[in-house]
Symmetry: D3
Subunit: 131 residues, 6 copies
């Protein structure tokens, strides 16, 4: 259960409807997921966040599927259940194979392990790593 | 300053020396960074962690440079300063361009933003995302 | 489901009952939420935490409604689902408007974003910021 | 030490210089802090983040000083040292008194405490808290 | 709901079955919990993680019950709901009393509180604490 | 550098001096570490936190040295550098051996690893783990 209402299509203002329509068009599906419906209580944040996601997660020098995997990595470290679900679905939709997913999980797990050990030991940064 | 000693070459046991030698050989450099020197207080953990890193971070269905970028993503979410420094250096050594790094930072930043907003709103997982 | 029992009124010891009664009196409601029922397994911690909450969250130089919003901010960063729910309800009960809530979410989201980018870039603290 | 270069005025492109100039104008000071100099390696992200900060942290239904305090709260939970320093300086510049700061620290500390206890006990959300 | 399939006994490969059998033998129960069933999608990670858990969580200079309590502490800070449930059950199975659990929760809560306050105040490390 | 002043003995109020004196007496040393000097800007929080630490970290059904190790575990997960330093020093002062420290680091590292993997896979809690 959300701490805020999930805006349904029938109650969407023109501003919200325009963003929902663009989400549908860009993704080629009628499905608008709950994140956008929750955010729609604030039409300004809804539009700004959607524009940012389109700009950041689209094609560039990193493959969009890889970007989804990076998103999963951050979301797993932060324990954001919803984000993990939605971006795992996106990574799969963009072609992430079962083997790639297994390798991603191993990297996330290993990073979690060494992050904790390094924090516990307070290892000083080697001068060799500085820019 | 570390909370534990950093083991120098001159004081390394045979077990520790063997791992340091393998690190040097695999990486083609004489440099052994502080993480391994701190971990060397526990030769069993040193060997096990080095074997795990070699296995997990090596070639597979995800490119090793991309694995370093995923490592940076997890470490940034966890705020592990040392890990961020060492894996950013590794990603660069494996070919990460300035443009790829900029895109990585944008994805990490956006994930941090939506993770926090989703947590704050406690958005329920859409049934469409379930396996 | 909790990892510990939720103490019901009928089974509460005199010590626990006294705290539950004070919660009811201070809040002007018969409702005692699950946090207190879980904590009631340890009557000493129950009493100490309730006294601390009364002291910290009450009136002072920061408005109690604002304190609830700060609590939501910390809880969102920590991903504490229960805490987010309970303190969002408290903030609303103390008068937080829909517009204030939207602005709060924007600040939390932006802080999450820049926290991640700053961590990733390991930006050094400007001398101008030191006390 | 940063993992990326800090762009100095002399080497700033026209795009970067325009943002730096706006930062100076809006804040009424010649000082441009390191976050912007690090971010300036990516002029698109620099401009977008500065516009977002101006929009989100400016006046609205929450006082700008309070917004800085909320920012401190999120940054403390995330352990972002730079962010804590810069936003504590901003909160003070906007009028946060010593007493308000003390109260803020108490709320942050208490939230940290109960977040951890609630997580440990996995307290189920009361139906009374749902929207 | 998991983001990956939970491998049931009937569909387990020989490699997976061997690990499940060892889990059952070592623990003296027919019950194989969901963590292992999710991890079983990657038989290499399954075996490596199980071997690591046996080695790390077994008897040594720290009592296995205490190790479970330390695991609960880390998992509570990270907000890993599943991990908190499974390791609280393990700690209880290894003899953790109700009083020990209450004391554990108090330490976790206090650490959460001072971690947040120390982060907020950016307290410099005393030279007396260095190795 | 702290974001607040570190109160020195010469400037301590009577209230603050009384707490510093008690810290010295209980610990049998003249050394008052920076956490208390930073917190001393708020004499009420100083006294309350010191009383809580004495009560929570003292003898009980968990050994005080073990409590320090649990504190290290939470602080490592939260990345609180100061807390890791101070409580590692305390654990050593209370008798933590090098071998116990190595085992602690292994448990913290393993918990960090599985916390991240479990979060990434969103493993559902087994009904067997419920109270």
């Amino acid at each position: 259960m959300a701490t805020t209402r999930l805006i349904q299509d029938a109650e969407a203002s023109a501003e919200v409807k325009a963003v929902f329509d663009d989400i549908r068009k860009v993704r080629g599906t009628d499905f608008v997921n709950n994140f956008w419906r929750a955010l729609a209580n604030d039409p300004v944040a809804l539009k700004a966040t959607w524009e940012e996601i389109k700009q950041v997660m689209g094609p560039g020098t990193i493959d969009p599927m890889i970007k989804e995997m990076i998103y999963i990595a951050v979301s797993s470290a932060n324990g954001c259940s919803y984000c993990i679900h939605s971006h795992t679905a996106s990574a799969r939709a963009k072609g992430m194979s079962g083997e790639q997913y297994s390798e991603l999980l191993r990297v996330i797990g290993l990073a979690g392990k060494t992050n904790h050990m390094v924090n516990a030991m307070q290892v000083p940064v080697d001068p060799e790593f500085t820019v």
